[in-house]
């Protein structure tokens, strides 16, 4: 029973990682760049939703929508201003720019909202009691998991069925060829950033709600871990990001519960290294050898 409750908290945490990882994996898969500013978009989503809820008095769902809109705009603007001019530049240059954007967002937030942590409301109260009260599952955990599953399924359908989704996969295979087939590469990449950032906003709300605090650096560590999760599951793969996020959350929760909170991150990362050594392209990733 204790094990089950740890498992549930792991799944809940993992669902948040998975949501962030889905954004990471979309952007990586299509734009072939590590967007290190992704974690900070989550933080922005957190602040926007907090303002919407506390200052404007909007209900939770409306706050989420406002945060999604704000982050979508932010994501598209970042992509247009900072990443688009570097489309043909070496990947390291884009990586450093992304880091610059990350610093920019964090420090802007520090100036606007002060570096002190703000308390974040729990968006859904109450819990489900099972086995005569031996096991309680908070509604927020359930909702987090469900939302994550819905997003994962929706994204899978979107990329495999819709015209835009197919365009995205084409761009991810070969930008040049996609352009020759009449696909607007820039618009497709913008769209990817828009979707990834909207997901980051949703993830931000759930993340802050489970931490119950929010500060300008809130997004960094979950951002890194979600990136790890995306690699874990096979970067570029949507089900992989989902699986990776969940597993990462569960491993972290178990390590905290049964081994030690001091080295839980070390254990998570050690598992990642072992997985990559056994499967160099992640759990669900494809390994493509170089042609001679």
């Amino acid at each position: 029973m204790v094990f089950l409750s740890y498992l549930i908290s792991g799944i809940s945490l993992g669902s948040v990682y998975a949501m962030i990882a889905l954004g990471y994996t979309m952007v990586y898969g299509i734009a072939k760049m590590l967007n290190f500013a992704h974690g900070d978009v989550i933080m922005v989503g957190g602040y926007v939703s907090l303002i919407a809820m506390t200052s404007w008095g909007l209900p939770v769902w409306a706050a989420v929508v406002v945060a999604m809109v704000a982050c979508t705009v932010l994501g598209v603007v970042i992509e247009g201003l900072a990443y688009r001019p570097l489309r043909s530049a070496p990947s390291l240059a884009v990586l450093i720019t992304a880091i610059g954007v990350s610093y920019f967002l964090q420090n802007s937030a520090q100036l606007i909202f002060s570096p002190n942590p703000k308390s974040y409301p729990v968006i859904i109260n109450g819990s489900l009691s099972l086995f005569g009260g031996k096991l309680t599952i908070s509604y927020i955990s359930l909702v987090t998991f469900l939302v994550c599953v819905i997003i994962m399924i929706a994204l899978t359908l979107f990329t495999s069925r819709s015209k835009m989704g197919k365009a995205m996969r084409a761009v991810s295979e070969d930008k040049g060829a996609a352009q020759l087939m009449g696909i607007n590469v820039n618009r497709t990449i913008s769209m990817t950033f828009a979707i990834g950032s909207a997901l980051a906003a949703v993830a931000g709300v759930f993340l802050c709600s489970s931490y119950t605090t929010l500060m300008p650096t809130t997004g960094s560590m979950p951002g890194i871990k979600a990136f790890t999760a995306a690699v874990f599951g096979g970067i570029g793969s949507i089900p992989g990001a989902f699986l990776g996020g969940l597993l990462l959350g569960i491993i972290e929760a178990m390590a905290k519960a049964y081994i030690s909170t001091n080295i839980s991150n070390a254990i998570v990362f050690a598992v990642l290294i072992v997985v990559l050594l056994v499967r160099p392209a992640g759990l669900l990733g494809k390994y493509v050898p170089e042609k001679v």
């Binding site: 570097l86 990586l95 920019f104 100036l111 001091n262 080295i263 990642l272 290294i273 990559l276 050594l277």
Partner: protein
């Protein structure tokens, strides 16, 4: 004249790099001794030396070997704490602080090299971004592992506890009378005698330069660059990929460890969280801004970017924001084709092919 021309361009660049560092050291050292430098700047001198060594060594991995590492600070951390342990254990045996510092640097380099081998052998089989994520993971692992260390020394020798469960404390070391605590878990190392000097820092930079530059211009360095440029072709002419990847990676780690020991012994206390992901990224920024594979570029960007936030102190809250904007703008200016074209229209440059033709003539 013809003799001067026969000296290769790379040799001249290397020579200029050595001379530049020596001149910079002489000027700064004179100013420092005359008391012409501000206190805050003097305090920055040794960290600058450390960051320069870090940048050069990371350039060996990222620029010369061509593998992205996001955990370079991890090796610095290994070097810093092993160096501190060495220096503090030898406090009574070796009274000379300079000699102790040198031993600490060697110990730091040695343990960082071992860490480099341990992480390198399995990891270098991976490619590209996967290698990057594993180095990132390694940096985080090192941070937490050191957080769990409790180390002390007494007349019986070194006492080490690995406090994974958070149940142990300093008193569990059972130090004898006169024993010294070195690392206290999450509090890090405290009560360290700061023995680092600017001169030793300068010498470390020079040694690093000799190692890295001479390596690049030698058979092994060429092999490393060959496998960066084209792995399959390198194999086809008989270059052992794993050997040379590991060589570059381990030399890079060892130098980072040496820099770490110098850094750690510059402060009276040090926490392992100092060497986090952000520090690794900071060093990567030096390398990329200075130019991949460009050693003197790494030196200059490490110096400027360490001084810049200090110089922006007047702007207080805005300084990191300005730093971020400068970073983005510099990357856009140096890498965006549109902006490059614009610059080339204003300042017409000779193309590489023409230069080659002229040399041929």
């Amino acid at each position: 004249m013809s003799k001067l021309k026969s000296i290769k361009k790379t040799t001249l660049v290397d020579f200029a790099t050595y001379i530049g560092v020596i001149i910079a050291f002489i000027i700064v050292n004179t100013l420092k001794n005359d008391g012409a430098l501000t206190r805050s700047f003097t305090g920055q001198l040794i960290p600058i030396c450390c960051y320069v060594v870090m940048a050069i060594s990371l350039n060996l991995t990222v620029g010369v070997l061509g593998e992205l590492s996001l955990g370079h600070a991890g090796f610095m951390s290994v070097g810093a704490f092993s160096g501190i342990i060495a220096a503090m254990s030898l406090q009574t045996v070796i009274p000379s602080p300079v000699l102790r510092l040198i031993i600490a640097i060697i110990v730091g380099a040695f343990f960082a090299a071992i860490a480099g081998v341990i992480i390198g052998i399995p990891v270098l089989r991976l490619r590209g971004d996967y290698l990057a994520i594993v180095t990132l993971a390694f940096g985080e692992i090192i941070k937490e592992v050191i957080n769990c260390l409790i180390v002390g020394v007494d007349s019986n020798g070194l006492h080490v506890i690995f406090n994974a469960f958070g149940s142990k404390s300093v008193s569990d070391l059972n130090l004898l009378e006169g024993g010294v605590m070195i690392i206290k878990g999450a509090q890090g190392a405290t009560g360290v005698k700061a023995i680092s000097t600017f001169t030793v820092g300068f010498i470390l930079i020079m040694i690093t330069l000799v190692i890295v530059l001479n390596l690049i211009r030698s058979r092994s360095g060429r092999a490393i660059m060959a496998l960066r440029d084209n792995r399959i072709a390198a194999e086809s002419v008989g270059i052992n990929i794993t050997k040379y990847k590991l060589m570059a990676f381990v030399i890079s780690s060892a130098l980072a460890g040496a820099a770490g020991a110098l850094y750690g012994l510059n402060f009276s206390s040090l926490m392992s969280s100092k060497f986090n992901f952000n520090t690794s990224i900071l060093i990567l920024v030096y390398v990329v801004l200075g130019g991949l594979g460009n050693i003197w570029g790494s030196i200059i960007s490490a110096v400027i970017l360490t001084i810049l936030p200090e110089a922006l102190r007047g702007f207080e809250d805005y300084r990191m924001l300005i730093y971020a904007i400068v970073l983005i703008l510099v990357m856009l200016a140096t890498n965006s084709p549109q902006i490059k074209n614009l610059v080339e229209k204003i300042i017409p440059r000779r193309k590489k092919g023409e230069e080659a033709d002229e040399e041929a003539a």
